[in-house]
Symmetry: C2
Subunit: 153 residues, 2 copies
């Protein structure tokens, strides 16, 4: 069952990742004012691939644990919110709605990290970088949104 | 825990449903050739709301069952694919890629229906209309794609 779980969770991450290949940051995003601490463009695919693999491993560990329910329910919510964010921000260019989505995702990631840590230490630790990254991405969404109010839809 | 599960699964459905409010079928979709059996526009929000509520109830029943793992893993994959489809089809107007996403979703829905039926009869029955609807939506995606090849991206 371990391989089945890992494959299914990684496929769900693949669906979320696919949004990044469909809605690329184009001329619109390049033209936005961004803070100095914006990570270099090259970092994003590397970071996301690492986070998705870690997240799929963590979810697999929870799935085979004694109490998979709460963690997997929250995991399904985070992958839906994650899949939603890129089309909203880069597709529809709705930075304010993107902020709402990523703020919700950050709260859900906080809950997942706590629940995973309680169920399986390694699974919880594997989610911490993802949680931290959503915090950074959320701060970036906020700063870009506020610095480009005239560009809001 | 039942209320927690239902709320979390319904929130995940809400993320999927939000794509429909961001990427509305506009002038592009209206102008496409569609088969005679295309359901009326008004039907979609009513059908989807019903299917999402049924799907959240079904997932809740699986979450509180003796064997929640396999069903919830597949449920997280279907909600990610579902959230992906609307931005791909209506946002990016990529009908061919939409066909791939909905074909995968249909296969996952078939697996979910079987797994849910084995775990909890009512949960499985609650997924059958959703599975059937994805079959219809997939057939519609196919027909619209093939009838409008010149409009493909």
């Amino acid at each position: 069952m371990t391989a089945f779980y890992f494959f299914v969770f990684l496929a769900a991450c693949g669906a979320a990742a696919a949004t990044g290949s469909v809605f690329l940051p184009g001329a619109w995003y390049q033209s936005l004012k961004k803070p100095s601490w914006t990570p270099p463009k090259k970092a994003f695919p590397i970071v996301w691939t690492t986070l998705y693999v870690a997240s799929a491993i963590a979810a697999t560990r929870i799935a085979i644990s004694d109490n998979p329910g709460p963690g997997l329910a929250l995991w399904s919510l985070q992958i839906a919110l994650n899949t939603l964010w890129t089309p909203v921000f880069f597709g529809a260019k709705r930075m304010g709605m993107g902020m709402i989505v990523i703020a919700l995702l950050w709260l859900v990631m906080a809950a997942i990290t706590v629940v995973f840590l309680q169920t399986d230490l390694i699974a919880g630790l594997l989610m911490i970088p993802y949680f931290a990254w959503i915090g950074l991405a959320g701060a970036l969404n906020w700063r870009i949104w506020r610095a480009n109010r005239n560009r809001n839809k």
